[in-house]
Symmetry: C2
Subunit: 189 residues, 2 copies
């Protein structure tokens, strides 16, 4: 058999010879956080998240689909939760699913109009990310957040727009729980 | 919140106000089976499979995705396993994922060249169905077969081609296990 992939539904992890693995350490994510003083004090090699991907057709295949998962560690930089880089899809109308196995999180969504909102992630929650929507995940809990993803093989990842312009709001901890705040600290949800 | 959907990772089933439910009884599937004498003797109202679907964007939305699952009951018509209708996608290049939660099955795949093959389904198995490939699932075990699916919102379902022309091979039980056979009974896998 050319490729073999298996899901462990308990852990939410993939195994098999066709699974690709990657990780992001804090050093590659520092500039995303609001509190740069706190970010610079933290170790560059701290793994913030790992990704497993199953890409059975070439990247860019029209009509194809990719499958994967992310394990996002708990932690904060200042009052801001550890998070994924976040991206639009290169082909803007491409959607995606996230579905949560373990942990507690926040899916932060920003439309092309710049309006940012968020959805709480908890075990079993299924989230549809519509097209034209930048998406990022924050771990708002105290254990690793594990979630599956499925997205079109031709979607592509535009990380640059988010790196350059950021989201218009951030998920931070206030009074022990997550709150979405604008760049001047105003709570919006 | 407009819509709410949750996965039970133990059962493989969806819940929430946005989940659609449907079912197929034997009466609507009889003509698919090879042994018509056996098929006619079985009750028309016997439920062969049920489907749950989450379709957060309109059917036909380019770049959108749908999510769902199927519960296929165990059983046979003659020596042929209970199975789903099977379909090509209307937009032929659209792929799909199936991922198995419970039970034992066979994913039968037929390319547009008429070549049919199959992949065994078991708990945790992840199957990528490429574009241009008709797909059907058979329950080869003794308990309900439950699997998740994710597919493009604009894929569409062409059931008619399969109803008219069938697959070029069938999954039947011989010596207690599944074997793929051609219409003249020759074993091919």
């Amino acid at each position: 058999m050319a490729s073999y992939v298996s899901m462990n539904w308990q852990s939410g992890l993939l195994s098999g010879n066709a699974v690709q693995h990657s990780s992001k350490a804090l050093g590659a994510l520092r500039t995303l956080f609001h509190d740069q003083e706190a970010a610079q004090k933290m170790p560059a090699d701290l793994i913030v998240y790992t990704v497993q991907a199953y890409t059975p057709v070439p990247d860019g295949t029209e009509g194809g689909l990719f499958w994967g998962n992310t394990t996002l560690q708990p932690g904060k930089v200042g009052d801001e939760y550890f998070m994924t880089k976040g991206h639009f899809h290169d082909i803007r109308n491409r959607g995606e699913y996230y579905a949560t196995f373990h942990g507690e999180g926040g899916l932060v969504l920003m439309g092309q109009n710049g309006v940012t909102r968020w959805e709480p992630m908890a075990p079993g929650s299924v989230h549809y990310i519509p097209g034209y929507t930048a998406h990022r995940v924050c771990n708002t809990g105290s254990i690793p957040l594990v979630f599956a993803a499925c997205w079109p093989a031709d979607a592509g990842h535009d990380y640059e727009t988010v790196e350059r312009e950021g989201f218009t709001a951030r998920l931070v901890e206030r009074n022990g729980g997550p709150v979405l705040v604008t760049s001047n600290g105003e709570e919006i949800g």
